[in-house]
């Protein structure tokens, strides 16, 4: 093994690709597109999409209409004095969007009131009317039951649940399970995308050398395994460059975005609550204003991310390279793609389960099995406390299978790159492995 040659291959692979327009564009545009998408999602969620709707209340109780109107003067109007048929007609003519027919039985029994609308209702609209009617009826029931103010305030304050995690030192710390399982999933997703995306880049590069016929010139100067390792390392480094640029951009954008988002959200919260106890409301919704400090991530996770990405990439990339070496064009890779797609997609799909249940048997097996461990172990490490022996075993299995896979792939590769004009099959693979 001649490392100076491997280094030459690595340098060429890295520099020509890093200088290419497609790489520069994808590096800059991907986060911008993601950011724009994220901003769009936030805009959708926060913007007031609910159109003003009017609801006429035909009230026979004499109390509910008043308290509903007090809740929202623009939405509710009292139509109790009109003839009932007129109200119906108004709804049909769409002068009113809906009407509510309220009777004593709705207060005294558990019978539900009915919201009658024409045209479109909409889930958000019915839900908010349901909330309002629930509140006023409960209020009225409490009033009629003549309960004391203390009891009433008991009802007003709904109990919530905070979760905290017991640490080894015996202290409790703020629980970040929700956030960390999100982080774990994203890290697993990044490894999945990285293995697949950069693996495909490498495969195209191998096919390019083969169809350009340059590979025979190259192999008269170095061993195929040196070429293979140099190329894999070059593309791996390319992946890191892109991840690093994205990480820097993410930090930069979020540093700029947090104050802006904060202002927007405060506005939102203030509007929504109108004088209610913000803190209580927020904790009910599972949102703690102090959660920003929770957003810090243990740096060790990034070290594991790095290691699992590199080992996983070297293993998968060598398979991608073997597939690339066996074909003359990208279209011909289709028949071989299942050997890559099945384990990679499997790992990704398992990840959605592992993120919510990181200590299950399934999760442990998936994070040890070398074909899925690069994706699944990083999710577990982020989400839960993985026993150190499992991390060690996962690494050991991954390294062992990396050497095994590389050994087999290199054999296919060194024969495949010199085979022109013949469509290879799996049985050819077997022949080539025996041959070399």
């Amino acid at each position: 093994m001649d490392f100076s040659k491997i280094l030459l291959v690595l340098k060429r692979e890295y520099i020509t690709r890093a200088k290419s327009k497609s790489f520069i564009l994808s590096t800059i545009l991907t986060p911008l597109v993601l950011f724009a998408f994220g901003a769009f999602m936030i805009w959708i969620v926060t913007s007031d999409t609910e159109t003003e709707k009017s609801v006429g209340i035909y009230d026979q109780t004499g109390v509910l209409a008043e308290s509903l109107i007090a809740k929202d003067t623009t939405r509710y109007s009292n139509v109790s004095l009109m003839p009932f048929d007129t109200v119906k007609a108004m709804v049909l003519r769409e002068e009113l969007d809906a009407y509510l027919f309220l009777e004593e039985k709705h207060i005294e029994t558990n019978e539900n009131a009915e919201l009658i609308y024409s045209g479109s209702g909409g889930i958000a609209f019915t839900a908010s009317v349901r909330n309002d009617i629930r509140d006023v009826i409960q209020e009225e029931r409490l009033l009629r039951a003549e309960v004391s103010d203390e009891v009433r305030s008991l009802f007003a304050n709904r109990p919530g649940l905070d979760s905290r995690k017991l640490t080894a030192e015996g202290d409790t710390e703020d629980d970040k399970a929700g956030f960390m399982s999100g982080v774990g999933f994203v890290l697993g997703l990044l490894i999945f995308i990285g293995l697949f995306g950069y693996g495909a880049v490498l495969m195209r590069s191998v096919i390019e050398e083969k169809t350009n016929r340059i590979v025979e010139v190259i192999t008269s100067s170095l061993k195929p395994i040196e070429l293979l390792i140099g190329k894999v390392a070059g593309v791996c480094l390319l992946g890191f460059t892109q991840f690093t640029v994205w990480a820097v951009m993410y930090i930069g954008i979020s540093m700029a975005a947090v104050p802006v988002a904060g202002v927007l959200m405060q506005d939102q919260i203030a509007q929504a609550t109108e004088g209610q106890d913000i803190e209580q409301l927020a904790s009910e919704a599972g949102f703690d204003p102090a959660s920003l400090e929770v957003l810090s991530i243990d740096p060790m996770i990034f070290v594991y991310f790095f290691l699992f990405f590199v080992l996983g990439f070297f293993m998968y990339a060598s398979i991608f390279a073997a597939v690339g070496s066996a074909v003359d064009s990208e279209q011909d890779t289709q028949q071989f793609m299942p050997i890559l797609m099945v384990p990679l997609m499997g790992g990704y799909i398992l990840n959605t389960r592992i993120m919510v249940d990181p200590d299950s048997t399934l999760a442990i097996i998936a994070s040890l099995f070398p074909l899925t461990s690069p994706i699944n172990m990083i999710t577990r490490i982020a989400t839960t406390d993985v026993p150190i022996w499992q991390i060690g075993a996962s690494f050991a299995l991954l390294i062992a299978s990396f050497f095994g896979v590389m050994w087999v792939s290199a054999k296919i590769y060194r024969v495949g790159i010199l085979m022109y004009g013949k469509k290879a099959s799996f049985s050819d693979f077997a022949k080539w492995i025996r041959q070399s």
């Binding site: 060429r12 016929r213 010139v217 010199l418």
Partner: protein, 309 residues
Amino acid sequence: MTIIHVENIRKSFGKNKAVDDVSFDVEKGRIFGLLGPNGAGKTTTIRMINHILGPDEGSITINGQEASPITQRMIGYMPEERGLYKKMKVEEQLLYLTQLKGMKPKAAKEAIHYWLDRFEASDWTKKEVGELSKGMSQKIQFIATIAHDPDIYIFDEPFSGLDPINSDMLKDIIIELKNNGKTILFSTHRMEQVEQMCDDICLFNKGKAVLQGKLREVKASFGKNTINLEFDGDGSFLDKLEGVRLNNRSTNFAEIRVLNGQNMQDILKLAMEHAEIHKFERIEPSLNEIFISTVGEDNLKAQQLEEAQ
């Protein structure tokens, strides 16, 4: 002095014996031609000399050393399937390829510029190879092969696909390299090039080396068994001849290979009866004739048919 020593090498791909017990020696400072129909095992042999493939059996030594990454540096190799990175600039590409052959960046740069100047290609250094014409990129390919100044040059079918200008240029380079004491090995199935250039030949057929030696001696060993006949008149009498093979026949010329040792004077007599004879000459057979009689006419026809398809 022997510079490439090939001894009893064998190489099989599955059941196909691509090279079957081949031995030959290439002498330093000479031009060695590897001849044979397609699929005879020439490229496989060349790949083994270049240490791209390893032989199943036998040994290859270059300058006394077993074929290895070290001997790879002593060889400049231009494969039959030529190619370069299309997206790379000419200079970067040549720097990369020469450094892979073990050159230091500075020396590589000097050598590259020397050759680019000689081929009047200095303006192309910053161009991508994909932008170049076919003839231009062929020149770049030569430079990639010879810039690291090796002792041995191996060209696999060097003249196939070359335009006439580059073909002549390559011929000149090969002669120049030989005059500088370098060793050249090339494979071809075009005999006239071998006649013009080669000192030694080795003829391959079906994985075996069926004939080898110095070109002069090989030809002499076949004796003066061929007639060069120039005539004026009706040439149909040639069809009446028995026990001969007609090569290079045209309206007033024929190269007649005389088989089964019949008397050449009888042929002359027959010819004189039918046409006016301008020239009757006994010569050594052409290499093409040697090739046909060694490989066998039927075998060759099948090969040519395959090529045409």
